[in-house]
Amino acid sequence: MKKRLLYLGLIAALLLGACGQPSQATPAASGLPADAAALAQERGLTQDDIYAALKTYMPSGQTDPFIMFSSGGQSGQVLVIGVPSMRILKVIGVFQRESWQGYGFGGSTDAVFKEGYMPDGSELAWGDTHHPNISETNGSYDGEFLFINDKANARLAVIDLRDFETKQIVKNPNTISDHGGAFVTPNTEYVVEGPQYGVPLGFEYAPTDQYQQQYRGLITFWKFDRLKGRVDPSQSFQIELPPYWQDLCDAGKGVSDGWFFCNSFNTELATGGVESGQPPFEAGTTKNDTDYLHIFNWKKAEEVFKAGKAETLNGMAVIKLQTAIDEGILFFSPEPKSPHGADVTPKGEFVIVGGKLDPHVTIYSFQKMQAAIAAGGLETDVYGVPVLPLDKVKEAQVELGLGPLHTVFDDKGYAYTSLFLDSAVARWTLGGDYASQHPEEPWTLVQKLPVQYNIGHITAVEGDTATPAGGFVVALNKWSIDRFANVGPLMPQNFQLVDISKGGDQMKVLYDMPIGMAEPHYAQIMKADRLKSIQVYPEIGWNPDTWSVDPTAITSEDEARVERNGTNVEIWMSVIRSHYKPEHIEINQGDHVVWHLTSLERTPDATHGFALSGYNINLSLEPGETQTIEFDAKQAGTFTYYCTEFCSALHLEMMGYFLVKP
């Protein structure tokens, strides 16, 4: 015991020493236990390394205090990662079938997956997830639901954080790509899906020379029904916008509750066509010195929608652009240059826009916006949208460096902006009410921390909420180049954990985490104690889709049976360690099979799989879960079904024969 205290004391002394001086000295003399010191010496670890190790190491059996939800990029998934250990806890299938969870391989999730198909029923088997958003109450995460968009096809998904499963996918019927989603309003009244590339409404055909007249942007306010855990398209509305390629958004909160902000980057109305001598998009869209920050009064839009002033297009209510202008729903303000991001400060009084091709972040004052709107006499853009002059609404501009993109916040009055071109994280100070929280001058750059490499999004613990918690930032780097063993030309992304617990210029990179399955975009980090997840389903026979006991479920092995009605065969199967009942199913080729499976388990982690070989079926039956699969037995022969989740010592024996007579 005494020895242990001594070690702790020595480690503490070492940490204090490490804070005081950015020493790179080897730790041999630092007082680590002899074997640890020898190890550090052998591996060439510096004192900073040892600090980073102690800061991130999660001893076996301890759980992370924070949980990060990251988009899975082209995998169409969501990654769940523990922070600060940076261990992957789960991968949630969303816009792509995921066989571990049995997601899209039979069972109720097939319907969820299919409801995300194109309006004509064409299959969409992948997605490009971008911006996860945790549901909020009073502007803080409540840990109940997670929303994420699919940029590739303009879709939105709802994940229930009770069981971490995708419950709903909605395809936006009026646009084909989105980027500014998912962003929730402070009490999750709406989940907002901003568009990206302009297309005619309903993505109808129109030649690009009709761009200004026919092409449009479109922002969607999906109404979220928290009780049902689903978005309700019938209570949702869209606002028609000029085709300016709206980009990233954020909801107002606190003083700016009821408002919504998005940046845009093609006010040039560029239509590309490099092959016919036109400037390519990359040049055409960057010509102007400024684009437009979009400022929405969504509470007003909601009133207008409820007053029946929206038109219906493909089943969705659309507030036409002219209506939005007439009703005072939409305003613009210039933003330099080819901007990115629109991030609202914790109390809602400022909106921060990254310059991307301008070395500044521009800080807009919500109060000044309101004053400019009230003053009136505004000029308009070519579509007639009133434009608030930048000098009337600007609170400050802070020069950070090259390629400022996204901004998040901490609890000490600092803002953190990703600098793509500089490949760095900028820490800078907020002014206004936040000025008293830090020792530095307001609106000044404090530190630029190099990250490896090409940072896109940045996220901090609850750093985009009304209650940022500080402690850690994660840099979501696009390139890793030399950070990991080479695994071929398609290289992992690099999530870098950054320590922001100390003020001033003391940010430090702590840890590199390779992401080798796609390129994530945004991520959010939540305090783990906000989770309300379950370990086993509440009752036997639980249908995770309806969140209730399924009427087709059985509750004991005695009810397991097979019933035939003509060529329809209905099976009620019990699933428990280590057997299915029945273990023999004998049917005729061509029979229509409806197969109900119920796990009778009540013990955490006692999950069973159900794979039917040759029929492309695999289910995950978690304790208490019921699933129904339905198919035509087209192939005759002897097939096996077996448990795909190692459940017990006799797991291999958990199988059965599915005999299909020719």
Partner: protein, 222 residues
């Protein structure tokens, strides 16, 4: 004994003309009723428990045995036991659980009847309550013996395990499971009730024997 602060002027007049304090008669009655109450309360708390520990059950598995029902991880223990071919936990002691409420209420009523029986026969009424915890333990041992000796040889591991006597108290081991059998508060209440009854009978005798003797004295004096 000055337990109750009663008016010393209120006295009990014995047939031989001698007097005694009122509290001498209240104490045995109160104690008998307390013992009855303890038995009633014991129905609502577990009597015995079995805790099973194994590496993959970090919180352990526990079944609490009440006189009326089983509670805890019964389902999971049955689930595991089916590999060994052991009967369902619920099958042991079914008859006893079905009569337990009536039986214990009867024990209590017999004790309370002792309040109204003012001679040595009161002790007879208390005999069932005195014997009760020992009967419980003997029956538990019998059930456990049956349980460990009813292994289905057709089960997955039924051939691999020899019949055994699970401990009534203390530690044991089955496969990777360590077992700990514990006596729980209900059983201790029943034992405590025995002590209270014995104390009650002592005071009962002290109170009523003089009356019986006085009656005899007066009767023979006639």
């Amino acid at each position: 004994m000055k337990i109750l602060n009663l008016d010393p002027d209120v006295k009990v007049l014995l047939p031989d003309g001698s007097t005694r304090q009122l509290q001498d008669y209240l104490i045995p009655s109160a104690l008998l009723m307390v013992a009855a109450l303890m038995l009633m309360v014991s129905m609502f708390v577990p009597y015995w428990s079995m805790t099973m520990t194994a590496p993959q059950y970090p919180k352990g598995l526990k079944v609490d045995v009440y006189v009326t029902h089983l509670a805890g991880d019964v389902r999971e223990i049955d689930e595991l036991n089916h590999y060994l071919g052991m009967p369902l936990l619920d099958e042991g002691g079914r008859f006893e659980r079905s009569i337990s409420t009536v039986a214990i209420v009867t024990l209590g009523l017999l004790l309370i009847a002792g309040v109204f029986v003012h001679n040595q026969w009161a002790a007879l009424l208390a005999v069932p309550a005195l014997a009760y915890p020992l009967v419980f333990l003997a029956d538990l041992a019998y059930i456990l013996y049956q349980y460990g000796h009813s292994i289905d040889p057709e089960s997955a591991l039924g051939g691999a395990i020899k019949p055994f006597m699970p401990p009534v108290w203390g530690e044991g081991k089955v496969g990777q499971f360590g077992t700990i059998a514990n006596w729980e508060v209900g059983l201790y209440l029943a034992f405590a009730a025995v002590l209270v009854v014995l104390l009650a009978l002592w005071f009962h005798r002290a109170a009523y024997k003089p009356i019986v003797d006085a009656r005899k004295k007066v009767g023979s004096g006639k």
